[in-house]
Symmetry: C2
Subunit: 281 residues, 2 copies
């Protein structure tokens, strides 16, 4: 089987729009590399997702640091395919219908959604806290679904928002299948800088990852705010990899008071989900 040799090697995710802007030249004498259309295209799409609002092609070009002419051409191509749509005034564009349809097809195939919703429902009912279903998007952490608890306070991250992996409890679980080196290559260095300004030592992070993998859980006082405690447990696929997490965000006193109960509820829900997120046929 040749998958491992070639397919595997290509699976490496490049940090995309993090450090590899089209700098004219890194070393003098080396001509600047041309970006590939497809990569640029998805860079544009991701950028629009982050912005959450329609933008002009020119604006996009400037902000992602890509040549204007290239962006205009790509935007037109994407419009033709209904991957982008004219939205708002002034020729602003945003994500298009095609993406909605493709996303729906993905969801149907790996339909964790339904079960996921039920799991969050259950957790929220049993704990009255805010429950989330999280995954990796490239080298970031992302909240896929959320069920607000009885007293919803300001949550660190909204659904669909990309957040550095080290900032989150779930992050410890989501990279557990990687080797130390892979983890270091995978997470952009600047993501170890916490919102407080402090730097988290990568070794400490990795130690937490290993610990979390053994216990099948990770909890800590949130790094992002100063008043919540976060609980995360892994959702495991058929190949025993952590493909997602269920997590709970609770006020600190509350979280500590119900520590064992909350964890057991999470684990029960995760157990029901685990093994499911696989292909239908």
């Amino acid at each position: 089987m040749s998958i491992d040799s070639t397919w595997g090697s290509q699976k490496k995710i490049d940090g995309s729009k993090d450090g590899d802007k089209p700098l004219s030249t890194i070393e003098p004498g080396i001509t600047a590399k041309r970006a590939r259309g497809l990569d640029r295209a998805f860079e544009i799409l991701d950028f629009l997702r982050e912005q959450k609002s329609p933008m002009r092609p020119n604006e996009i070009a400037v902000q992602i640091g890509a040549p204007r002419s290239s962006v205009y051409e790509l935007v037109n191509l994407l419009l033709r395919n209904e991957v982008l749509e004219l939205a708002g005034a002034d020729g602003r564009v945003f994500l298009g219908r095609k993406l909605f349809f493709l996303g729906a097809a993905y969801e149907e195939q790996f339909d964790f959604t339904r079960e996921c919703e039920a799991a969050l429902e259950m957790i929220a009912r049993e704990t009255r806290e805010t429950a989330q279903f999280c995954m990796l998007d490239g080298n970031k952490y992302i909240v896929v679904r959320m069920k607000e608890g009885a007293r919803p306070f300001r949550i660190s991250s909204d659904v669909g928002q990309s957040v550095p992996i080290p900032w989150t409890a779930s992050g410890r679980l989501l990279v557990a299948h990687m080797s130390d080196q892979e983890i270091l290559d995978f997470i952009p260095p600047q993501d170890f800088k916490l919102p407080s300004g402090e730097w988290l030592a990568p070794e400490s992070f990795i130690a937490e990852v290993r610990g979390a993998a053994v216990k099948g859980e990770f909890t800590f006082d949130s790094i992002v705010d100063s008043f919540t405690h976060c609980f995360a447990v892994p959702v495991i696929d058929a190949e025993r990899r952590c493909v997602a997490t269920l997590c709970l965000v609770a006020p600190r006193e509350d979280g500590l008071a119900n520590y064992r109960h909350y964890l057991s509820v999470l684990k029960k829900a995760a157990g029901e989900l685990s093994g499911k997120p696989a292909v239908h046929d």
Copy 2:
């Protein structure tokens, strides 16, 4: 303002995977055109959506009639971007997470979903029939959401399935903003061939389109099966264009017996949705 001149002209949708396969040469002496990577990429994605199951790159190449080497390269690029994912055994690939996230972002921006769900709920409650929310996907008709009625019988089309526009009641409404010529250019000629094998005269179709636009409704005995009557009404956006339809699929006797009632329920729901499917900010 330059939007109209250039952006407008580019908005034309090419019939994509319908008649423009990479034929080696149309006229002898004209070199075969190379397909653009981006177009091929979305051709692959659309193909996977239709198949609804993971496929091998080679298989994809053969079926969409694209060079193998090209497909392999694109598939690898898409895997790198998590637009495709390895799924199933043997290096089969399917739509990836990235698409799910992008689709979710689209949905959040134009969130007809919530209101749409409510509308379908209401229709299903009032009529006990199967209700659908439909749109155009390129030059095809597609069911976006569906709420099965009290006695769900075999529905013509599943959610997410592409169907020729002329086969559907909604199709009459969805192309109403186009000129006669635009309609003819837009709909692939072979789509006027009905499932029965008969051909629908394009002029008749256009006449029905115009009639439907005036009345703000279209109903007929289904072309796809022999026992249902279909009702469709337009959902109008801020620019007074039909961007979607609400429709009802009922057993024929039943549909005729409640004709006025069903239509009024549909129109009430569509009225509440109309104007909504616009950008948030």
